[in-house]
């Protein structure tokens, strides 16, 4: 039982539906059959009683005058010519005299005249006993376990009783008639079931499948954000339909929240890294400058052996390299720089094109700048160059890199600068995307691995945003970096 209750709705709903259909069909046809059997029987008995009384009345004078043939004609008349298994058709009629002998019967062969009626069968003997008791007019007798129904009517007038008319009906005829109608009813029930079951099954599936899908999604919810439920799966306004829409709404909100959280974590991490690196860089820079100054001072002393000088130069070169690296980490947008001119973009193009050509990369340039923008030109040039160098390297020989630079204007005032660099080739992995703007994230592949870090720092400091989109489109990789910077909001 528990097993049945634990079944999936996919099976349970159609199963219960089918069970209901079958039970309903069975109960209804059973009730109708039972009623029809009762009616069949009561009809038979009513007709038999009426017929028996009529016959008994006419039998009286025949018996009184001992007209056996007349009596035979009277009881034989209802049999007529039409024979068949109609339940109204009696098996035989017998007229018994007062001693329980057959006066005359419709079946002289089996129930001959003068024969002792009680000797034919135990049920007949029992019938005789019942008839012998004084009592009501017509009696209906249905001996237990007997194949027959008996209707006994006394042949009498006032107090003179001459005998008894016994109408014998076979239950078999009744049963066969009943079986026939039962068979028909069963056939109809089966037809109804055959018609209704697929409907019930379909309806059950229609309800259960959306529920099952919803359950599967809900169970996934703990592990990851599942997909949306296709609304066409259940496009109705009932509770299930509302549940669907509520689920989709919740899912949407969860996804948005997760995205925002992801962004926040990302930028917070980058900010933390930025602060850390800046702190470390400053801590290194101070002693470094001291060391370089000390080294310079030492070099201006004359009594240094050539061996010492060589060592000093080696030290200085090493310290300068540390200074360069630290300086690169310590990115600071050069806010005091002049405005960014359309010519600056063209300069970058001139600088990059030989590189692109050397790598066999086609560069598509689309700069729509017309007027100077109040943004630090040197920082912007650095961002653009870094992005382009990265793109050329990523796209590889035969690839294409496209650049689009536009100023978005509201009215006649430019409000945002958008620079989009797109390259083909391999797309970024999820892991790469997650750590893209961190320093040394990708050191092995792309030089020092500080290019994007620098870009991010500059764009952040300028209050802008840098977004990456790397995906397969029509079988080709496409990675784009989009930099947006607010104009005139110089901090």
């Amino acid at each position: 039982m528990r097993f049945l209750l634990n079944l999936s709705f996919r099976y349970k709903v159609p199963l219960w539906g089918s069970l209901l259909i079958v039970a309903t069909a069975t109960i209804i046809s059973g009730t109708l059959l039972l009623r029809s059997y009762g009616e069949l029987k009561s009809d038979l008995l009513r007709d038999a009683t009426r017929q028996g009384r009529t016959m008994a009345t006419t039998l009286f004078p025949a018996m009184l005058h001992d007209q056996v043939w007349r009596a035979y004609e009277i009881i034989k008349a209802p049999f007529g010519r039409e024979s068949g298994d109609s339940p109204g058709q009696a098996e035989s009629f017998v007229v018994l005299d007062q001693r329980g002998q057959v006066y005359v019967s419709t079946n002289p062969e089996t129930l001959p005249m003068l024969a002792d009626f009680g000797r034919f069968a135990p049920e007949f003997a029992a019938l005789l006993e019942t008839i012998a008791q004084p009592g009501s007019e017509t009696r209906l007798l249905e001996p237990q376990g007997s194949d027959h129904l008996f209707v006994a009517t006394p042949v009498r007038e006032e107090h003179a009783r001459l005998g008894t008319l016994v109408q014998i009906y076979s239950k078999k005829a009744l049963h066969s008639r009943f079986q026939k109608s039962a068979g028909q009813a069963a056939l109809i029930a089966v037809l109804v079931i055959v018609l209704l079951l697929p409907l019930g099954w379909y309806w059950g599936q229609r309800t259960a499948v959306p529920l099952v899908r919803l359950t599967e999604r809900m169970e996934e919810l703990g592990r990851r954000l599942p997909d949306d439920l296709a609304p066409e799966l259940y496009d109705y306004q009932d509770e299930l339909g509302r549940l669907y829409r509520a689920y989709n709404r919740t899912l949407h909100e969860l996804r948005e929240k997760a995205q925002i959280e992801g962004h926040m974590i990302h930028s917070e991490r980058l900010a933390a890294i930025g602060r850390l690196t800046a702190g470390i860089a400053h801590e290194i820079n101070n002693p470094l400058l001291g060391m370089l100054t000390a080294l310079d001072t030492l070099r201006h002393h004359d009594e240094l052996s050539p061996r010492t000088l060589k060592t000093l130069t080696l030290l200085e070169r090493g310290l300068l390299q540390i200074k360069d690296t630290v300086g690169a980490l310590l990115v600071e947008a050069k806010l005091k720089s002049r405005d960014f001119l359309p010519q600056d973009a063209e300069d970058v193009r001139t600088l990059i094109e030989p590189q692109a050509r050397a790598q066999g990369v086609n560069l598509r340039w689309d700069s729509r700048l017309k007027a100077p923008l109040p943004l630090p030109s040197s920082s912007l040039r650095q961002v653009l160059i870094n992005l382009l160098l990265n793109a050329i390297q990523a796209s590889g020989p035969g690839g294409e890199v496209s650049v689009t630079i536009t100023a978005v204007a509201i009215g006649s005032v430019d409000t945002t600068l958008a620079m989009v660099v797109v390259n083909g080739g391999r797309i970024l992995t999820e892991m790469q995307t997650a750590h893209l703007f961190e320093p040394f994230a990708d050191a092995e592949e792309r030089g020092r691995g500080l290019g994007l870090w620098v870009c991010y720092q500059i764009v952040s400091q300028l209050g802008g945003n840098i977004a990456v989109d790397s995906e397969m489109r029509d079988g080709l990789g496409r990675t784009s970096f989009k930099v947006t910077l607010p104009i005139g909001a110089r901090p």
Partner: protein, 283 residues
């Protein structure tokens, strides 16, 4: 039965309204018919009446009764002018009636009694084997259907009143055959002429009976007139009957009656019947 009678009455009414039927002024002749033949052939009876009226040029009324006794009473009470009666009633009423004509059956004025048993009891080969059985009689005033078997039993030294376990009357030879065919009675004695006629008309009934033995022949049931009937009426009816077989219409009716004609008979044709009656102290 009722239906047939209704149809018969309807047919009579239709006949009465037919303008072709001449209106006879004279008093109607009343002719009685008994179950001596297949008296349920009402259509045939109606046609025969029409034939009689045409020949006699006067109305004829057919009177049918279900038992011989009633016809005999009607004759005695002078309610009938003529009647076709069984040989036993004729001998019984010999002093009150006159013999008009005797039918010719198979070219003889004789008939026989047939002892028949139900086809369900083929082992019964004769009257003796019917001891303690159920036996059907036709009519207490029937020669073939009552007198003959009783006479035969008497000759065998048996008491007819005790020989059978049970006897009953069907008041018609036709019904007697039916009773034996249904097995209601084990056997019965029947008018041979009726059995033969029925065998030709409805063999499905006679097939259920077995003809066990035939009696010697007796004078065929005659046409009689009451003593008081007018001489010219007697002569006219006698001539009409005797001449029947000489005209086409009469011949056709006779054929349907399964008879060859009527002849002038003599009462000594019935001496054998009278002898049997004497054996039972009657006559």
């Amino acid at each position: 039965m009722t239906l047939t009678r209704r149809i018969f009455l309807g047919a009579c009414a239709a006949l009465a309204m037919t303008p072709a039927r001449p209106a006879y002024s004279a008093k109607a002749l009343r002719v009685g018919m008994t179950p001596a033949f297949l008296h349920t052939q009402h259509g045939l009876l109606a046609e025969w009446r029409g034939y009689m009226e045409a020949k006699l040029k006067r109305p004829v009324e057919i009177v049918q009764r279900d038992s011989y006794r009633e016809t005999m009473d009607l004759l005695r009470l002078e309610q009938l002018d003529f009647s076709w009666v069984c040989s036993y009633p004729y001998v019984y009423l010999r002093k009150q009636v006159r013999l008009v004509a005797v039918p010719l059956y198979r070219m003889e004025p004789y008939y026989r009694a047939y002892l028949i048993v139900s086809a369900k009891y083929p082992h019964i080969q004769g009257l003796a084997q019917l001891r303690g059985k159920i036996f059907a009689y036709a009519d207490p005033y029937s020669a073939t259907g009552y007198l003959v078997p009783r006479y035969q039993l008497r000759r065998m030294g048996e008491d007819p009143a005790k020989f059978f376990a049970r006897t009953f009357f069907t008041y018609s030879h036709h019904k007697l055959i039916q009773a034996v065919a249904d097995g209601l009675a084990h056997g019965g004695s029947v008018d041979g002429y009726v059995w033969d006629s029925l065998d030709a008309l409805k063999p499905e009934i006679t097939r259920r009976t077995l003809l066990v033995s035939q009696s010697p022949q007796f004078g065929f049931p005659p046409f009689v007139a009451r003593r008081g009937v007018a001489e010219e009426d007697f002569a006219a009816v006698q001539e009409m009957l005797v001449m029947m077989r000489y005209d086409a219409r009469g011949k056709e009716l006779l054929q349907r009656l399964n008879l060859n004609g009527f002849i002038l008979g003599h009462s000594n044709l019935y001496d054998k019947v009278a002898e049997m009656m004497r054996a039972f102290g009657e006559d």
